[in-house]
Amino acid sequence: MGEVFLPGSLREVFDLLSGEPEALLYAGGTDLFVRSSLEEGGGKPLVCLERVEGLKGISDHGDEIRIGGCTTHSELIRSRLVREHFPLLMHAARRIGAPAVRNMGTIGGNICTASPAGDTLPPLYIFDAFVELCSAGRARRVPISEFITGPGQTALERGEVLSAICLKKDHGCTFFHFEKVGQRKAMAISVASFAFAAGINGDGMIRKARCAFGSVAPTVFTSSNIDRCFIDKPMDEDTLRQAALLVRSEVSPISDVRASEGYRRSVAGNLVMRLEDLVRDTG
């Protein structure tokens, strides 16, 4: 079996990575050791990021919120800043796994795993999150939609660590909705998920709308076509029916052991229909 490193600072991480370029980075282990159990690791050195100081914590930077890459889902859910500015992200995090998984899994891990079913991803797309990537020599910020390049694929370069997620506060939305369709109510992997944020005028007309879907395309699915079809309309059955039609025609799901392509396609559209009542309920 291999070595396991527990660096305490980013400096140490970079030093380790320069000495062990084959090393696998992990934070909670809820993806790495679930996909292939620890014993199948192949003997590569492991670098556990759970104790790296610079990767923890959620902080307020005036116009944006910065979430450390190793922030656990439980910490996201408990965070006052997240609840206040990005309740959608909190709702999505609450639907991940179960308490122990949320105590271990991190938002950075969820992003780097780049699964189309990653539950924190649709809200991050909606809020145009940036990921902050650090390596020994430099730091860069990349929009999440550019960082995730395919299922399980990211623009993370060798020697880089996802250090933080940055979210702008002025998203202009006041209505939020997240729904996850899984095979059960906990410990479930999304068969389809739908995140929605909107700004609605006093007269009930939609000023701004953003939709993002999980598990219905190779990566999180967003579409300006769909977002546009809400603008200057009320959240009524007609609007939603149109949006649902567009959704069903634009998504590109696959069939797997959890659900068929056809089911994912129709459910993705159906989930949009549910907004009608929710808006009415929130007044």
């Binding site: 396991v4 282990g29 679930v34 159990s37 556990c48 308490p99 122990a100 906990a186």
Partner: protein, 161 residues
């Protein structure tokens, strides 16, 4: 490749010399002889291997031995005080929450952590708190009853009682 890993196990400082990439679960069961922590899946999917790490529930089957370093670890064997059962354990016995018992250690661990943070939970909150601990015998009902009962024992009142 082995190294010495130092941690606190059920209140006692211990160290173990082992391969750091072994599973924490195996170190606890094989090296420390604490077989109360169970393996039901090895993939973080069943909760049987739940332990407390600095008071938080974690899954020892997806933790490396290295991650035990410097941590305060509590297993089912360390949940009770000197000789006394933890109120959660007493309630599990009294309320018939135990059948085959294989999920029980993980259930107790999850319940203890949950009740420490939520003194008077609603039934639905208990169901959520235990949702990562699969049980195939009980249908969960008597386990939820037991946690409600333990909340009353520990804090003198559930939400509706």
């Amino acid at each position: 490749m082995t190294r010495k890993i130092f941690f606190v196990l059920n209140g006692i400082s211990v160290h173990v010399e082992t391969d750091p990439a072994r599973r924490a679960l195996d170190v606890l069961r094989e090296d420390m002889g604490l077989t109360g922590t169970k393996e039901g899946c090895g993939r973080g999917e069943c909760g049987g291997c739940s332990i407390l790490v600095d008071g938080e529930v974690k899954l020892s089957c997806i933790m490396t031995a290295a991650q035990l370093e410097g941590k305060d670890i509590v297993t089912i064997e360390g949940v009770c005080g000197e000789g006394d059962l933890h109120p959660v354990q007493r309630s599990f016995i009294e309320r018939g929450a135990v059948q085959c018992g294989f999920c029980t250690p993980g259930m107790v661990i999850s319940s203890v952590a949950f009740l420490n943070a939520n003194p008077s939970p609603a039934r639905e909150e208990i169901r959520e708190a235990l949702s990562g601990n699969l049980c195939r015998c009980t249908g969960y009902q008597k386990i939820v009853d037991a946690v409600e009962d333990a909340a009353k024992k520990m804090h003198g009142g559930g939400r509706d009682g």
